[in-house]
């Protein structure tokens, strides 16, 4: 599920969050209120006599309608009163954000707070370069509530060389595990009354559309479609590893129990099974003949009722379901998460996928942490930052966040792209996410989920750079045709794929990966 998916899911995840305040409803209905603010009264706590400005670097495009400034002004009233400081939001726009993000950290500019993500913002790499401040001493004193609320095992995930360098977003539910989305109404017509739980079920469903829905492409798969990662998740216990091998994942960990043992799914029978199935799907005409060059947007086709299947993660599903209910009434969009087949293989999102660090050159780390503690633990400030002003940006109706009467996006739209410490307890579910997601999918996931175990593992690819590039080339060259069943005889195609991987230096990378995982295991003390 890494590689192309990893990248795509990161990009999409990021995108999913751009114009939104919160993608998913919190899993805790009950809200804790009446939290006391941190003890920062003058005299009793830290010295806040000097007024300071605290910058917070976030990723995203700066909102242009002036609403953000108004909301921030409200926030700053609190900030001024409580800690004699003012927050400044600094935006790193999406245009070449990686370069700008890393430059900002490398330049030695005084950054107070900054969004981090170990899996997509190279946080460990930046930590290695000394970009972040060590927070061990500062946290208990200046962010006491945050310090107390995060359990020790989560702090463990936040350390680099034994020092805490980041505050994880550990208390926020996000599910970005992938699956197929299918239309409940058509599935019923096809005789699939139970929720689909395997690929054979999907096959039946697609075949029904092919036979009975003229004008609909069962699945208008576009070039770049990649489902191999999902197949692994459905039919094995193997875990994806944070290593990119281009189009297809070719290394996985054996299972959750043997999470430090590398294995090769493409050299196992499951890959032949997969290739055969995809060939069959292609031959049945489940997707276009020219799917490999198809640039259509399948999701748009689904919304238009012209495609019957989509493939993405739970968060996307949650919003898409609501949208589909509007656009295709009665479609009853369903999700078949790949983990459902065996009911064993599901890891949570890394708790350091989002988080906040203090820049190494910050001039006011104390006040920065105090500000952070307020954002994360003061419900009023939290809602302001994440949702805007109540009555202007949102209203709460029946426990759900809706847009007030007369709300115009251009005028009142608001987002802050704060992904550095959202917490479920303050979240108000949006009316735009499916209201049954919790009792259906989340409940299903909660039964089988396992914590993410590679949060601190960073594959150092320097020793095998050339081989990795070669492997990526092979997966990019032969992968797409196998995935879309256009590679001719599946067994032969798989054989050729394996040969080329071997030639590209597959075994060397495997050995190196195993070596580094062994080291990681020792580092974790397991």
């Amino acid at each position: 599920m890494k590689t192309k998916w990893g990248k795509a899911s990161i990009v999409l995840l990021v995108s999913v969050m751009v114009f939104i305040l919160s993608a998913c409803g919190g899993s805790n209905e009950g809200k804790e209120t009446g939290k006391s603010t941190p003890g920062t009264a003058p005299g009793s706590g830290p010295d806040t006599s000097k007024f300071v400005k605290i910058s917070y670097l976030v990723l995203g495009d700066k909102p242009k309608n002036g609403q953000f400034e108004k909301v921030l002004a409200e926030v700053n009233k609190f900030m001024k009163e409580k800690i004699n400081a003012e927050l400044e939001w600094k935006w790193i726009e999406w245009a070449d954000w990686q370069t700008k993000y890393n430059l900002a950290l490398a330049s030695g500019e005084p950054i107070d707070l900054i969004t981090i993500g170990t899996d997509w913002l190279d946080t460990w790499g930046n930590a290695q370069r000394g970009a972040f401040m060590n927070l061990d001493e500062l946290l208990p004193k200046y962010a006491p509530e945050t310090w107390k609320s995060i359990p020790e095992e989560d702090w463990k995930e936040s350390r680099y060389n034994g020092k805490i360098v980041l505050i994880p977003e550990n208390d926020y539910t996000q599910w970005v595990n992938h699956g197929f989305f299918y239309r409940g109404d058509w599935a019923k017509e096809a005789g699939l009354t139970e929720p689909i739980k395997d690929w054979e079920g999907i096959e039946t469903y697609l075949q029904y559309i092919k036979d009975h829905k003229p004008g609909v492409i069962p699945w208008d798969a576009a070039s770049g479609t990649q489902t191999w990662g999902g197949f692994i998740q459905s039919y094995t216990d193997q875990l994806e590893l944070p290593i990119s091998t281009g189009f297809l994942p070719v290394f996985t960990a054996k299972s959750y129990d043997e999470k430090f043992t590398v294995t090769s799914p493409v050299f196992e029978d499951v890959f032949v099974k997969y290739a055969t199935m995809m060939k069959k799907w292609a031959d049945q005409g489940f997707w276009r003949e020219d799917a490999l060059n198809n640039k259509n947007n399948n999701r748009d086709a689904l919304k238009a009722g012209l495609s019957g299947l989509d493939q993405h993660h739970t968060q996307t599903f949650s919003g898409l379901r609501v949208e589909m209910d509007k656009l295709q009434p009665g479609s009853e969009l369903q999700m078949f998460p790949f983990s459902r087949t065996r009911g064993t293989n599901l890891m949570e999102l890394s708790i350091t996928h989002g988080g906040t660090s203090v820049g190494a050159h910050s001039k006011n780390p104390e006040r920065a942490l105090m500000a952070y503690d307020l954002i994360r633990n003061n419900e009023e400030i939290y809602h302001l930052i994440n949702y805007g002003i109540e009555g202007v940006q949102y209203e709460v109706k029946d426990g759900k966040r809706v847009q007030p009467e007369g709300f115009k996006d251009a005028e009142h739209g608001y987002y802050s792209d704060f992904w550095g410490g959202r917490v479920d307890k303050f979240e108000i579910p949006s009316a735009n996410s499916w209201d049954q997601i919790e009792e259906t999918l989340y409940a299903e996931y909660d039964k089988i989920k396992k914590p993410y175990v590679y949060g601190q593992f960073v594959f150092d690819k320097t020793p095998v750079e050339a081989e990795l590039t070669a492997i990526s080339q092979v997966t990019g060259e032969l992968g797409p045709a196998i995935v879309l069943g256009k590679a001719g005889d599946p067994a032969q195609a798989v054989e050729e794929f394996r040969d080329k991987l071997k030639q590209a230096g597959y075994d060397k990378v495997l050995a190196e990966l195993q070596k580094q995982l062994d080291a990681y295991k020792t580092q974790l003390g397991e």
């Binding site: 995108s15 998913c24 726009e93 430059l103 996006d409």
Partner: protein, 303 residues
């Protein structure tokens, strides 16, 4: 030149006509190759997104729609501002850059300038490697303190070794005798440069000016690095790039967002931005073109 034209007019026989026919046909085809894609872009930019999805790109919009322009010009104030910024930077940058390049080029080829070769080599030498992105960024932001300053975009584009070398070799075609004769008449170096050299180098100036102007017009990378969103008006290319990237995100995020859903016409919008971005540049060419032909040095030195 005169000789050439005469021989042509004399030999208007069959082969001459053939050459002309072939020439016209070839140039005609070539212009078509340049023009058609542009027309396709223009046509697509006015097509509704829906029609693009169904029929693909067309020269003539099947379903006319100016919606993408509406989105691009959603904030007319911002786009006009960025137009002005880009124009300002382009005009100032081209004028100053041209002046500097021309002066350097002229000085570097004067035979009575003793260290010309050493300095030329020094300038050429810098083209072989770069300092890298991080040092460049540090220099501009930490030492020159030009973050959020238009100078950060203006300065790096002013002078380029390539253009200096080009200028130098062009000025070399002006005989040094001209400089010497002006000297004898009592002109100072600067007067010679302004009054004699510059007028004689107009073709080169036009070419180099065009290079510099296009460079500034299309510039977005430095703006992206150094001009943060805290600046209200930023160069056009960056502005348009952001329009596209954010549209991309709106589309992808629409599914799960709180944002009012609207169908962002991404394909036609890309085309509309391309038109908006290239439009004025097209006007540059005919304007500058006449200078290519004018101001030829032939005849400057008689005998």
């Amino acid at each position: 030149m005169d000789d050439l034209i005469e021989t042509r007019s004399v030999r208007t026989d069959f082969s001459g006509i053939l050459v002309k026919i072939v020439g016209y046909v070839f140039i005609g085809l070539f212009s078509l190759c340049c023009l058609l894609p542009f027309l396709l872009v223009l046509g697509t930019s006015f097509t509704s997104e829906d029609a693009i999805k169904r029929f693909g790109f067309n020269f003539w919009p099947r379903e006319f729609s100016a919606f993408s322009y509406k989105i691009v010009f959603e904030n007319p104030d911002l786009i006009i501002g960025s137009y002005l910024v880009t124009m300002g930077i382009t005009v100032v940058g081209t004028a100053v850059g041209l002046f500097l390049v021309a002066m350097t080029g002229y000085a570097l080829q004067r035979p009575d300038f003793e260290y010309r070769n050493k300095i030329s080599f020094f300038i050429y030498f810098t083209t072989l490697f770069t300092g890298g992105l991080v040092p460049f960024y540090l220099l501009v932001t930490q030492y020159l303190h030009l973050k959020d300053n238009y100078l950060a975009v203006l300065l790096p584009g002013l002078i380029s070794p390539f253009l200096i070398i080009m200028m130098k070799s062009f000025v070399r075609s002006i005989p040094h005798a001209i400089t010497e004769s002006a000297k004898i008449d009592g002109a100072g170096d600067f007067t010679i440069f302004i009054k004699l050299i510059l007028p004689m180098t107009t073709p080169a100036l036009a070419t180099i000016g065009l290079f510099i102007a296009l460079g500034y017009w299309n510039e977005w990378y430095n703006s992206m690095l150094f001009l943060s969103p805290d600046m209200k008006y930023r160069p056009l290319q960056l502005f348009l790039y952001n329009v596209i990237t954010s549209a991309d995100f709106v589309r992808n995020s629409a599914a799960a967002s709180n944002v009012e859903l609207r169908d962002v016409p991404l394909e036609s919008m890309k085309m509309a931005t391309a038109i908006v971005a290239t439009g004025p540049v097209i006007l540059f060419y005919p304007f500058v073109q006449r200078y290519f032909i004018k101001g030829i040095t032939v005849g400057a030195v008689k005998g």
